[in-house]
């Protein structure tokens, strides 16, 4: 069990031991960093490739199709075929485009998407850097994506791109606020910003003491996940790249490998957002029986599956609905949720705790829904028209 649990950690140690025979101590540190970087740099794009396959297969099944099935068994080689196609495609740059920024934008957008992998705890002892501000690092770095998307949309000199870019900025700025606030209860409960410490705080009850099993944890989990879906620009929050309204938004003018880089950034952030949600509220790598990394992957892929499920079933939100959801519903509810978390920790007795927190959360969400009811004009009755 422990052998399986620590298999990746131990294989890294074995490589380092082997290297220490003929390398000085300083070089060992560099080699250690390079192994972690190499693992992430290989894992990120690989995940992206197979997430595209997974999404096409899943959306295909939802729409009663089979999905890719020509290249390899179950279409498993489809991502590689796509990659070759992307690489050999002509790279078109619009005549009026700002050449330098147009080139830089897809390169820049991949950097934060890869950087955030470094604080994700993939399993017990399996985190590249255990920063004591890991969660804050994740949120700060993923906020940089906005600027890269905006660079791409502005440099294309295309009205559709620019509209998509403006929508992206508006959406990301709005959802950043409730996202950070929705993460606060987990920080409060574990008393740390380090992703590893947050996971370790959910280790009781044979690895099942996940925050999601408390009332505030459940609400926080739902809100954080929703904001995460909005941060990745995915359905139902895919207004920035609405195909039916503004062609494809910020990546209208991109082709070939640059387009692939946009997609890589998007799918990698789908994975990292799901991973962070699992870390914060679903207990990360904690769980009984299975090895820690298996638990982490199961939880993360379950959340990724839900995102794809959204894509297959939900229609796109309108701009005002989306903004209203962020500012009028999620933001007040996150603040109330932080309060409830505090109450949970300063009251004793299971009944009182449960009753108080569930009561406050239910009443406040009911009040918020009541206040946010869309204005419906009364149905007119034409008394004398008949």
């Amino acid at each position: 069990m422990i052998f399986l649990d620590q298999i990746f950690v131990n294989s890294k140690k074995a490589i380092l031991n082997l290297a220490s025979a003929f390398l000085p101590t300083d070089a060992i540190l560099i080699v250690s960093a390079l192994i972690s970087i190499g693992a992430i740099a290989a894992f990120g794009p690989f995940t992206m490739m197979y997430l595209t396959w997974f999404e096409r297969k899943l959306v295909g099944r939802i729409q009663n199709r089979i999905g890719p099935n020509r290249v390899g068994i179950f279409g498993l080689l489809q991502p590689i075929a796509d990659g070759i196609k992307m690489l050999t495609k002509e790279d078109i740059v619009p005549a009026g485009a700002d050449k330098v920024v147009h080139f830089l934008a897809p390169v820049v957008v991949v950097i934060p998407a890869l950087l955030v992998f470094s604080v994700v705890p993939f399993g017990r002892n399996m985190v590249a850097i255990d920063l004591n501000i890991g969660l804050l690092f994740f949120l700060a770095v993923s906020a940089m994506t906005t600027i890269a998307i905006f660079m791409g949309s502005w440099a294309s000199r295309n009205k559709f791109s620019l509209l998509g870019g403006m929508r992206t900025v508006a959406q990301l700025v709005s959802y950043e606020v409730p996202m950070v606030l929705a993460a606060v209860p987990a920080i409060l409960a574990s008393g740390s910003l380090s992703t590893v410490d947050i996971v370790e705080a959910q280790g009781g009850w044979n690895g099942l003491k996940w925050f999601v099993f408390t009332p505030w944890g459940f609400v926080g989990f739902l809100m954080f996940y929703l904001c995460g879906v909005a941060e990745c620009n995915r359905t139902p929050f895919d207004i920035p790249e609405a195909e039916s309204e503004i062609v494809a938004g910020f990546h209208t003018e991109y082709s070939g490998m640059k387009f692939a880089l946009w997609y890589m950034a998007e799918f990698m952030s789908v994975f990292t957002i799901s991973a962070l949600t699992a870390t914060l509220y679903l207990g990360g790598y904690q769980g009984p029986w299975l090895p820690s990394w298996a638990w982490f992957m199961i939880k993360t892929y379950a959340l990724v599956f839900v995102m794809m499920w959204f894509r297959g079933t939900l229609p796109r939100l309108r701009v005002d609905q989306m903004m209203g959801l962020a500012w009028k519903f999620l933001l007040p509810l996150t603040l109330i949720n932080i309060l409830v978390t505090g109450l949970w920790y300063f009251t004793s007795g299971l009944g009182l705790r449960l009753g108080l927190s569930i009561g406050i959360l239910l009443v406040s969400s009911w009040v918020l829904v009541l206040f946010n009811r869309p204005y419906m004009p009364e149905k007119r009755v034409y008394e004398f028209a008949e």
């Binding site: 300083d26 920063l131 700060a140 900025v169 700025v173």
Partner: protein, 172 residues
Amino acid sequence: MLPILAKLFIYGVLFLSLVAALGVVLLPNIFHAALCLVGTLLGIAALYLALQAEFIAVVQVLLYVGAVMTLVIFAIMLTHRIGDMTIPQTNKQSLPACLALFAFVVLIGGLLLKTDWSILVGTGGSVASVNPPVDTFMLGKALLGEYVFPFEVVSVILIAGLIGAIVVARKD
């Protein structure tokens, strides 16, 4: 070998952020200038990181790159056609401005060299020249314990500023 490499790296980053800072004031296109400002702010975050103030570094990225720069870019986009234009950033007053800046740099440099940068450590007033570790935990305790009054005053002032901005900007 590692400390030298780390130093080389951080000097490289600082050089790049200085180049980006020059770009902010010299580039004719305002959008390019804003992007250069992003580069400068990231370079400063790297400097904080090199000084082992990770919390400040990350908050720098979160607030300045994530929020303030997004708003700056938003302002550029919403201003009518300013993003398309190429405006020279210098005028007749650039030479006096450079002279004044040089005088200011000399003044600040003199102050920096005169200051004794050693830090008081411990209760006995013993002077040690090591940097105390800036811990996020300590920072939080200080902000919400010892310095809670100035902290709250700052937040009240910020809220007053926000409300004031809305009142000034509102048309009715």
